[in-house]
């Protein structure tokens, strides 16, 4: 295999796809959010347990392609143990990257940086973003003290809805 497919289906991506992290339901989650790409049938259920403002446990149950499952798996790995504010900041960074910015050198995005290859396949960007937009919506819902609404990426501008998450807020 040569060419752009190499950059899309990197071994790391396929490895996350085969063995997604956090791919099990949590016993008693504090929050559960769901998201879907209705035009293609991908869906994700995100569960989180908090200790104070820290994300203590994450469950990411994805039914979808290799890009959405691996992105969800990397997300589970990255956000567990972080504060809600840090997780939101990561999600915003990743969204900016999918919208064309390069990965910020100062932020350690772990395996997530390999998903930069998705940018060469514009129709697949929403696959990569699905778990992250679901996370942003869940965080927003938590801040607003409402239950998360099922997120539907249909009709959203590319890169998802504008989220008024205050990234500076830290606990």
């Amino acid at each position: 295999m040569t060419g752009p497919l190499d950059t899309l289906y990197r071994e790391v991506v396929l490895e996350h796809h085969r063995h997604p992290r956090g791919n099990r339901p949590l016993a008693d989650p504090h929050i559960e959010a769901s998201g879907q790409n209705p035009s293609c049938g991908d869906d994700v259920v995100l569960q989180m347990r908090f200790e104070g403002d820290r994300i203590a446990a994450v469950g990411v149950l994805t039914h979808g392609c290799a890009i959405s499952t691996s992105s969800g798996s990397m997300m589970a790995e990255l956000i567990e143990g972080r504060t809600v504010g840090e997780a939101a900041a990561l999600a915003e960074r990743f969204r900016e990257v999918m919208q064309g910015k390069t990965f910020p050198a100062e932020v350690d995005l772990g395996d997530l940086s390999v998903l930069e290859g998705v940018k060469q396949f514009p129709v697949r960007i929403k696959c990569a973003l699905l778990p992250w937009l679901t996370l942003l919506d869940a965080i927003l819902a938590r801040r607003q003290g409402r239950p998360p609404q099922p997120l539907d990426t249909e009709g959203l501008p590319a890169g998802g809805p504008p989220m008024q998450v205050d990234l500076k807020e830290r606990s």
């Binding site: 295999m1 060419g3 752009p4 497919l5 899309l8 289906y9 071994e11 396929l14 209705p38 035009s39 293609c40 049938g41 991908d42 869906d43 039914h63 979808g64 392609c65 290799a66 890009i67 396949f121 129709v123 697949r124 696959c127």
Partner: protein, 438 residues
């Protein structure tokens, strides 16, 4: 079981070789199946310098257009462009003639009871909305609409909207695990409250060719109106509205080798006359006062505003091509290609094909799922190999839920599909598995 391709016997039955009046039929040779029909007349399918060959397996979404249709579009805009039914000059008369000629050609093509029974629309979807909205005043709370579990959203959502407005209930003819309509359920679903039966002729996911005439006859016994969504049948199989016995038939020109933005609702003029127009405006009126207006005759009362005249002027060029090749020949070619695709997919192993197992029970498309590679990933990898397929739910979400898969990959065929296209599909699936297996 599916047919073996390359076996001339199965492709050229004596009945098919016999020439019936007005229909040109030909014996399909293996070479024809290999090369596709009239492929050289479709510019987008031609290999060109600097562009890798395209294996277009998404004809069910929209077909490619022959050069003759492109030339007819160009000819219209260059030499005949004017509005219809308005001005009195010769240019407008020429545009109007072209537009009305399309209506005549479509009427003859589907054996409509009258030319005035052809309403020119934007496509199958707008034709179905026109029917569902137009019938609203004839339906009362508690009335039932019978659909099937294999409807495209275009033949589902307009009825849901109508049901919500009028307090109707929607019922669904179920499908069997073999992907065919469960006709045994029909007697339990039809009743005195059934006012409309609307169903897909050929499924855009399962490929199933439904026993339309049989279902229409059963519906008629209960006095129900019948509507046929022939979007995936038109251009692929011969259509005869009067033989089907249905009240109305819809299809889109763009899936039938014609231009985008054009479709048809075909029915008896007196049946159309009971529909309320969906849109008001120019062209559709007879007499207008400040407070009210009266409608123009059928079918014009359903054609408010300026229609897609160029598309209508060009569509007969597509019908000419279909007539030249012969609808029967096209059907047998697509059946052979479908049989080949089914065989090759089954031979790969690890593939679930949805819909009837035999090519003679289905139209020219195959939706499938691979045990390892998700449809999106498969579609991206196939695209890199120059193969266009469709991945997703194909505008049939409830059906996919019924099948128990969120998404499938669909390869769909047309008269121009050749065996190279199928080879490229199979090679692409192998390639995708290599990517995922390393």
């Amino acid at each position: 079981m599916s047919h073996r391709v390359g076996n001339e016997q199965s492709l050229a039955s004596p009945a098919a070789a016999a020439t019936s009046a007005g229909v040109r039929t030909a014996v399909l040779s293996p070479a024809t199946v290999r090369d596709g029909l009239a492929r050289e007349r479709f510019p987008l399918l031609q290999p060109a310098a600097g562009r890798p060959p395209r294996h277009y397996l998404d004809t069910a979404a929209t077909s490619q257009k022959p050069a003759s249709v492109l030339a007819a579009l160009d000819d219209f805009y260059r030499y005949r462009n004017a509005n219809v039914h308005r001005s009195l000059d010769s240019l407008a008369a020429s545009a109007t003639a072209a537009y009305e000629e399309c209506r005549r050609r479509v009427a003859a093509w589907v054996n409509a009871p009258a030319v005035a029974g052809v309403v020119i629309t934007r496509g199958a979807t707008s034709a179905l909305n026109l029917v569902a909205r137009g019938l609203e005043h004839l339906l009362a709370p508690g009335d039932e609409i019978l659909l099937t579990e294999m409807e495209h959203h275009a033949n589902l959502v307009p009825w849901q909207m109508l049901a919500r407005r009028r307090g109707l209930s929607l019922r669904f003819l179920t499908i069997t695990d073999a992907g065919e309509l469960d006709l045994a359920q029909l007697p339990h679903l039809l009743g005195a409250r059934t006012r409309v039966v609307s169903l897909v002729h050929t499924s855009n996911v399962l490929g199933t060719i439904n026993p339309v005439a049989e279902i229409v006859a059963a519906a008629r016994r209960f006095g129900a109106m019948t509507v046929i969504d022939a979007a995936q049948a038109a251009g692929h199989q011969a259509l005869d509205l009067q033989a089907l016995g249905a009240d109305a038939l819809v299809f889109s020109a763009h899936k039938t080798y014609g231009p985008l933005g054009l479709g048809f609702l075909v029915a008896r003029p007196d049946w159309l006359a009971q529909l309320e127009p969906l849109e008001g405006g120019g062209e559709m009126i007879a007499w207008v006062d400040w407070q009210q207006a009266t409608w123009a005759e059928v079918p014009h009362r359903f054609e408010a505003g300026t229609p897609n005249i160029a598309a209508a002027a060009a569509f007969p060029a597509a019908l000419d091509l279909l007539a030249e090749i012969g609808q029967d020949t096209i059907r047998r070619h697509e059946q052979a290609i479908t049989a080949l695709a089914l065989d090759r997919l089954q031979a790969l192993g690890g593939i679930t094909v949805y819909g009837p197992p035999a090519a003679d029970r289905r139209g020219g498309l195959v939706a499938f799922a691979d045990a390892v590679v998700h449809p999106h990933d498969l579609s991206t990898i196939l695209d890199q190999a120059g193969v266009s397929v469709r991945a997703g739910h194909h505008c049939a979400q409830p059906l996919h839920r019924r099948l128990g898969v969120p998404a499938t990959t669909r390869a769909s065929f047309g008269l121009y599909t050749n065996t190279d296209d199928i080879d490229a599909l199979i090679a692409g699936i192998r390639e995708a598995r290599k990517v995922f297996d390393r």
